[in-house]
Symmetry: C2
Subunit: 337 residues, 2 copies
Amino acid sequence: MADKVTSFDVARLAGVSQSAVSRVFTPGASASAATRDKVTKAAEELGYRPNTLARAMITGKSRVIGVVVAYLENQFYPMALEYLDRALKERGYHILLFMAQNDGNVGQIVEELMSYQVDGIITASVDMSNDIAKRCDDAGIPVVMFNRGQETGTLAQVTSNNIEGGRTVAHFLASGGHRKIAHVSGWQGSSTGLDRMRGFVDGLKDHGVEPVAIEDGRYSQDDAAIIARKLCGTSDRPDAIFVGNDHMAFAVMDCLRFELGLSVPEDVSIVGYDDVPIAAWPAYDLTTIRQPINKMVTATVEILLARIEQGAASERIQIPGPLKIRGSARKPKGFST
Amino acid sequence: MADKVTSFDVARLAGVSQSAVSRVFTPGASASAATRDKVTKAAEELGYRPNTLARAMITGKSRVIGVVVAYLENQFYPMALEYLDRALKERGYHILLFMAQNDGNVGQIVEELMSYQVDGIITASVDMSNDIAKRCDDAGIPVVMFNRGQETGTLAQVTSNNIEGGRTVAHFLASGGHRKIAHVSGWQGSSTGLDRMRGFVDGLKDHGVEPVAIEDGRYSQDDAAIIARKLCGTSDRPDAIFVGNDHMAFAVMDCLRFELGLSVPEDVSIVGYDDVPIAAWPAYDLTTIRQPINKMVTATVEILLARIEQGAASERIQIPGPLKIRGSARKPKGFST
DNA sequence: ATGAAAGCGCTAACAT
DNA sequence: ATGTTAGCGCTTTCAT
């Protein structure tokens, strides 16, 4: 018993034309106070709300943004989603959600994205970001990649400064007197994973230190735990590990503490990347690079809507992420970034 | 550029009528192999995809489900979202996401849900579930409340058996020899919070035990920590605490261990509710009632789509949640539910 | 400022 | 099996 109320019904009741009703409900349109009043009353009485779909068909704007995410178990993603929704809602847009399965059917997602007439797309750290982004971009739908980039190319992207972040961690760890330093990297098929690693290795070099091990944790807790076990299961273990994101860092810490009986940071210092809320929980108290998620989201939305609404060009933005020092890693005396 | 390709363009190129094109892209429609072939080729060539919006306008079905969630920081929600998306996608539906801010503008959300012509709505443990649900239901849009219910009423809802869950915890704790048992409840303005509490108190009564304290944690980590501090800051502390959900339980454990210097479970046993993935992390190793999220989601989608597609009646379902015994609470010898 | 009329891209009778 | 013809509910010229 519902939404069968159309602008015609309202028009009839208000004693005006249907287009008058439309005007009253269209932000920029002109209508006399009298008309406006009659229409508003009639609409109220009938419980009328404009059909967004019909409007979208005509204007060619759905005011819907397709957001593609994967693996919500890593707290970084739900946080991004929450901020994204807030920023988008402020501008009058809504999120149509797409979960990229790991066995990712990129083709299908792209099809669906397009058939729903989304005005734009945000891919959030999805493995196949590049793939999806390129195809949608080719199809003329504005895309921006959130927290993932590509080495070369012109697609819009927003990341933190991963290279600089990795370098900062290196500096911090080396200054703390660590010399046997390992790295459980983020997925080496991703720009983020690669950049953090490169910056880290580079930064270490500045201190004349070479990492004792680098292993690809692929952003998986299971993989990270396995690596931690291997790395620290011998007496020849590293005295510090930089882990490619917080999500893996938690698994690494748990493995060291509860499986290997080691202390963090006394036996091994751990540093992560992201600064998700859990990192601040006392059980982990993780020293980590803070990805300024709020700023990143704001920039993402800004860029995307500029493209959609003003046809602006694709931008590629990097936002610096400061080191958040907590208790999971030995602190250098008088450390400064 | 892009998506300006319509079924007419395809029709022209394929040398058939526009409706022939429509039929080829409509699952149940009839078209000869020849036509189907020509159309498919032409469509391919032009990069045509049907406009879902236009289709939705005619059929009156958008194949979009509005999902209202809040507070993604509690891992239970993102998990629900992930399962929901999977189950819905399987049936050809998509999720339009609505974040309910705490300062919740229920009215606006309802407006938006309706104007987007969603076929149905799922509210996931949102504070104002009842409010939103009732209004949408009144408007004729099928709604099911996920993990939240109402005492009386006919709105569709899916929860775990919270009363039974609370009772199970009581039985477990009492059997473990605990006698000074406290409860940090879920929000007492919610059915889930209330039911778990009631079941718990009831179950304790069976053992002739009365809770030493019951405080409303309102599903907030901050509130829970404050309560834990108050409860366990004295020598007269409880020897066990049942916390209304895992999310709060983590905060309680952290407070006891890192602030108060207590041991869990040696000094105080902790039991939670939900069994989110983090509960299994060694740092917490939380004994908790497992909300069978997968089954709950399946049921939710089932009920909703039955209403949408077959006009079925609203169902109210409760799914039993077993106790998952881990290490955060002393184990009774030979315990059986 | 307002009404009439022409579609947006598609599906669903209705014919053939 | 296929084409023709109405619309779905709305925005947007175009007159008035």
